[in-house]
């Protein structure tokens, strides 16, 4: 066993020992346990008031889930120290479970109700979805086309006839490209030009000049034009054009800085929720 593997194993054993000790000695009896209560026939998480009222009970299955979640969180974090078997196991589990989950969900939310449920509603109602209407909608025969295209796509798994899958793929790419082009032109290109056409002098309710809003509008338009000049390479960036282009770079850099700041904020929030989970939900630690 490599040195770092020994270190990590020892770390996880110590954490497990501490977690067990904390679960047994937690005065609030919260650490390592999940309490639930029954509301309208459904089991939902219980809070402190429910526990005091005596209507909450420990859920064994959810408590096991809590411990598994805690250790998997630490396994993933262990990658920050070095790549190791614990991380690889957690990663492989996440990938496998996600792939399986998406496949099953896709089958039961689309293939069954939206394809087979349209073509043979009576059969699907009897076999799989009692809530589905057994009557076939008029014009439902058109769903034969997606069925055929779907089967053609599956031909990718048969090497000898894998070329058949290119046809439905072409259909998917063509329709997606068409959809996206129209949406982009409307929502981003034209609408954004429209959004940039703003008054340089803004009047408030009392008909006096709103200087702050006017400055914002002027700055917006000047910044857009400067950024566009930076990306205009048909003229050499010298003299006045060079100066405007330089201003454009500054605007772009400030934008990238703001984007980086937002990304940092997002990542810290993700770290915070995992640590909250470990310290509060799992170990019930407070300083």
């Amino acid at each position: 066993m490599k040195f770092e593997h020994t270190i990590l194993t020892l770390f996880f054993v110590l954490v497990a020992a501490f977690a067990i000790w904390q679960s047994l000695n937690d005065p609030e009896k919260l650490a390592g346990r999940v309490y639930v209560k029954q509301v309208a026939g459904e089991w939902v998480p219980a809070d402190e008031i429910d526990r005091k009222a005596g209507i909450a009970e420990v859920s064994l299955s959810r408590s096991i889930g809590l411990w598994v979640g805690a250790f998997f969180t630490m396994f993933i974090f262990s990658f920050l120290y070095r790549d190791n078997p614990f991380y690889k196991m957690a990663e492989a589990t996440v990938v496998g479970v996600s792939a399986g989950y998406v496949m099953v969900v896709g089958f039961w939310t689309t293939i069954i109700p939206n394809l087979l449920g349209k073509l043979t509603p009576g059969l699907i109602q009897q076999w799989a979805m009692p809530g589905l209407s057994p009557e076939q909608a008029p014009g439902a025969w058109v769903y034969i086309f997606p069925l055929v295209l779907g089967i053609m796509l599956m031909m990718r798994l048969v090497p000898k006839v894998s070329w058949i899958s290119v046809w439905p793929l072409a259909f998917i790419i063509g329709t997606t490209a068409g959809l996206r082009m129209v949406a982009f032109l409307e929502a981003d290109f034209l609408s954004q030009i429209e959004n940039s056409i703003v008054p340089f002098v803004v009047l408030d309710k009392t008909n006096s000049i709103d200087y702050w809003q006017s400055f914002q509008n002027i700055f917006l338009v000047v910044s857009i034009l400067a950024c566009l000049v930076y990306f205009f390479f048909s003229i050499e960036h010298k003299g006045a054009v060079g100066k405007v282009s330089r201003f454009g770079i500054w605007i772009l850099m400030i934008t990238f800085g703001a984007m980086f700041g937002m990304t940092v904020m997002g990542r810290i929030a993700l770290l915070a929720i995992r640590l909250e989970f470990l310290f509060r939900d799992w170990l019930n630690l407070h300083l």
Binding site: V39, V102, G117, G131, A183, F184, M265, L271, A272
Partner: protein, 290 residues
């Protein structure tokens, strides 16, 4: 500062930085540090847009996120449900993410089942579940909901659900409240929903920090309000709690504000590290010149 120290700091093992960040985030969590939030215009716009609605108005809550973004988006989703439940709006949940329906169920459990037990499934709220197809789903349900949604997430026929009987398409909704982690999400709802039907569809959104800079250009014409990252969540949460929660809000309703404590300390650390990195860089350059 000695040359050896500068060289050592410049080549510092990055795992020390990870440890510092771990401490910067974990200590405020353990100390339960919280700071007051002053809502900005964008968060207030989101709040006001929902406030304008009347009891019984239909709203679509599109929760396009999964557990990977729960830290940022969970508090927004909770506050959206809490706000809508207090306003007695008809809530139609759906998701374009495979794990989205679980996020919807979590929100329903956390808010509706716990604090609004009088609300009835199928009459006051419904979970329409997940549909694959990315923006294609939005494009279709904008004109015909039943083309894709024949049942809800529980397998119940949509025509047998009372609150769905008079809904033809998403155009029947007074407002779309979108919580988005990426693709497909807010951008697609704006492109295929709001922009395509500007007179019929209004939308507010809560998005991740990564996504927020791409969404700001849509405000205010294509997006009525925007909650960017955990900061936006904390601001909106404050507005909802101030108006609708009597006394001290439950921990579930303060997740956004609570997560701003670690944010502050971690951001201070980041600023320190950026400054230190730059100072070291210039000191190294100076040493090389000598």
């Amino acid at each position: 500062m000695g040359i050896a120290v500068i060289e050592k700091l410049a080549n510092l093992d990055r795992r020390w930085i990870f440890l510092l960040m771990f401490l910067a985030v974990s200590i405020p969590i353990l100390l339960e540090l919280e700071f007051p939030e002053k809502p900005t215009k964008l968060a207030r716009d989101v709040f006001d847009e929902i406030e304008k609605l009347q009891p019984g108005d239909k709203v679509l809550l599109a929760f396009d996120y999964d557990p990977a973004s729960e830290g940022e988006l969970g508090p927004m989703a909770t506050s959206f449900i809490l706000h809508c439940a207090n306003k007695k709006l008809k809530m139609y949940f759906l998701s374009l993410f495979p794990v989205g329906p679980q996020m919807v169920e979590d929100g329903i459990t956390k808010v509706i089942l716990t604090d609004f037990p009088d609300l009835v499934y199928g009459e006051d709220y419904v979970n329409l579940g997940y549909k694959p197809g990315y923006e294609g789903v939005i494009k279709v349900i904008m004109t015909d909901l039943r083309e894709l949604y024949t049942t809800d997430a529980r397998g119940q026929n949509i025509d047998q659900i009372p609150m769905c009987q008079d809904v033809e398409s998403i155009q029947d909704m007074k407002l779309i409240l979108n919580v988005s982690a990426g693709y497909p999400g807010s951008k697609e709802w704006v492109q295929y929903g709001v922009t395509a039907y500007p007179d019929k569809i209004a939308m507010v959104a809560g998005v991740t920090g990564v996504q927020a800079p791409y969404m700001y250009p849509y405000v205010p014409k294509q997006l009525k309000g925007l909650l960017g990252a955990i900061k936006g969540a904390a601001e909106y949460e404050t507005l909802v709690n101030e108006k609708y929660v009597k006394g001290e809000p439950k921990p579930e309703y303060r997740e956004g504000v609570r997560r701003m404590g670690p944010q502050l300390v971690a951001h201070l650390l980041m600023i320190f590290l950026i400054l230190a990195g730059n100072i070291l860089y210039f000191l190294q350059k100076r040493i090389q010149r000598l």
